[in-house]
């Protein structure tokens, strides 16, 4: 049994994959709690897809250098997040329709750009479904720094983010800078998306953002507890998913997401009415 658990840890790539996926799982759980509570799941999914053209441009300019790709992903993600946020505030067409149009268009543009490179299939698969086993030491340090920064900002602005999420009129009467705080949240989501891309890819990312918080919301009625439980579910999904992937040869991103989904279904079924 212990051999079963320890054997994968003899490989550095597995250790790095475990460390990276646990870190992003925790950040996704905390940021995802806001996404679930504010009903932004579709926004999160769209944002993840929307960064593909940015990643594609980076890919065309600098090949598959992970470090460069990360910065392209981050830049696109922040721009897209603030952009979609601004579009959804305007009237005219409904918010989810506007987001749908932008995200599908951007996603298609990304695929089109990547498909101009002859050997694109492998790299496209990594962008779409993640490549957590390819995490380098540099990736790990970057992920750690940004993860710490996101958690620090959530901690510092905890009560303000709570106020704008629960009751924006209250936030106005307290004279909070509501727009700036909304944008802060959009940027935090964007950075989360950028650091999570390598672990599960853009296509599956929304699961990391919403499934663990949704599972936690079935079990608690307090916000800090919900964040904590979501982080535990997320981290456990990352670890179990990677082991699962190691022993069965299932794609790692899919294994992590399937584990998180299993936690959700089990919690839903075992919940007393």
């Amino acid at each position: 049994m212990s051999d079963f658990l320890l054997q994968p840890l003899h490989y550095d790539f597995m250790l790095r994959a475990l460390a990276a996926s646990v870190m992003v799982a925790i950040v996704c759980a905390v940021i995802g709690t806001y996404i679930v509570l504010r009903g932004m799941a579709f926004f999160g999914d769209a944002l993840a897809h929307t960064i593909l053209p940015g990643v594609a441009v980076g890919y065309l300019l600098s090949g598959s250098d992970r470090g460069a790709l990360f910065w392209w992903a981050l830049g696109t993600s922040v721009l897209a997040s603030l952009g979609i946020g601004a579009v959804s505030k305007r009237g005219g067409i409904k918010e989810d329709t506007a987001i749908g149009i932008i995200f599908a268009g951007m996603f298609a543009l990304g695929i089109a750009l990547i498909s101009t490179v002859r050997s694109y299939a492998v790299d496209l698969t990594h962008f779409l479904f993640g490549d957590v086993l390819g995490v380098s030491n540099g990736d790990l340090i970057r992920t750690g720094l940004f993860a710490a920064l996101i958690l620090l900002l959530v901690f510092l602005f905890y009560k303000e983010l709570l106020a704008i999420s629960f009751d924006s009129t209250l936030a106005v009467t307290l004279r909070l800078p509501v727009n700036a705080l909304n944008n802060l949240l959009l940027v935090l989501i964007a950075v989360t998306v950028a650091i999570t891309m390598q672990a599960v890819g853009v296509a599956l990312m929304v699961a990391m953002l919403i499934t663990p918080p949704a599972t936690a919301s079935l079990l608690t009625k307090r916000l800090p507890v919900m964040m904590g439980l979501a982080a535990i579910f997320g981290a456990a999904s990352a670890i179990l998913g990677l082991y699962f992937s190691y022993y069965t040869n299932i794609a790692s991103g899919a294994a992590i997401v399937l584990t998180a989904t299993a936690f959700f279904i089990i919690t839903l079924l075992t919940q007393k009415k």
């Binding site: 509570l37 009560k159 106020a163 999420s165 009129t169 009467t173 307290l174 004279r175 916000l223 919900m226």
Partner: protein
């Protein structure tokens, strides 16, 4: 440190108590060019209780949004104690119950503590004083035993009282309530109206939007009859006359209103 924080994000204006708590002048709000509020001019005295009545679409919610600052005021002027509302955290807002996400994972106590956010200041966490204020606000509205409940587990009347407690914790001097009585059963309405009477002791000024002309007439010192413009504003007996009501609601609905309420009101 605290001083720096409070000026960085939470900037509070001085109160000039020689000025009215709320002074609205020539306020006009337009949606797509059509005036939802047309040249409103009025002021409130500290400590009074005022009901705003009028038909659906009269602009009651718009007026409240403009006063709290959720709508930018482009035409006209709103002053709180003689200065622009943006410097004041003393306006409490009690939302309509159907505008609240009751499944949100917060307890009664958490919601009331949100009223303290400005006083706690940037990067701060609740201190003993804040917990004390929350506790005493909960006691004022008789919710202290339910402090740990998730908010969906409250009755409609308790939910309204929770938001009043939040406004008290905020140290609001002007409390705006948007239809606090609608959807409540009769005993809960009575409880709430009694609570509003009790708040008079704390010198809180109260502005309530309501559909119920009867309650407006019996529980409030002044009534504003609104239909995009102020039809009448003053003591209930002077405002709720057949002529004014016909003006505000249109002649066709007058009979309905006459039947629905106020039958034991002396008609001048």
């Amino acid at each position: 440190m605290t001083k720096f924080h409070s000026t960085l994000l939470y900037n509070e204006a001085e109160h000039d108590h020689g000025q009215p708590i709320l002074d609205v002048r020539h306020l006009t709000v337009r949606y797509n060019g059509i005036a939802a509020l047309d040249r409103l001019t009025f002021h409130l005295h500290a400590g009074e209780r005022v009901a705003v009545v009028g038909p659906n679409g009269a602009g009651k919610s718009t007026l409240f949004k403009a006063i709290v600052g959720a709508l930018p005021v482009i035409e006209g002027e709103i002053n709180i104690f003689g200065s622009h509302p943006s410097g004041h955290v003393c306006i409490g807002y009690v939302p309509q119950r159907n505008n609240v996400d009751w499944r949100f994972p917060v307890s009664v106590e958490d919601v009331v503590m949100m009223g303290r956010i400005a006083k706690i200041g940037l990067f701060g966490w609740p201190r003993a004083l804040d917990r004390q204020r929350v506790q005493s606000a909960l006691e004022t509205v008789h919710l202290a035993p339910l402090a740990k409940r998730q908010i969906a587990q409250l009755s409609g009347g308790q939910q309204q009282r929770m938001f009043i407690a939040r406004a008290l914790a905020q140290e609001s001097e002007l409390m705006l309530m948007d239809e606090p009585l609608s959807g409540l059963d009769a005993p809960s309405q009575e409880d709430l109206l009694t609570l509003l009477d009790e708040l008079k002791a704390q010198n809180v000024t109260i502005l309530v939007a309501t559909h119920d002309l009867q309650q407006a007439a019996t529980h409030f010192e002044r009534v504003m009859l609104l239909n995009r413009h102020i039809v009448a504003f003053g003591a209930p007996a002077q405002v709720l006359t057949n002529e004014h009501l016909a003006n505000a609601y249109g002649g066709g609905t007058l009979q309905v209103i006459g039947d629905a309420c106020c039958e034991d009101e002396p008609q001048p």
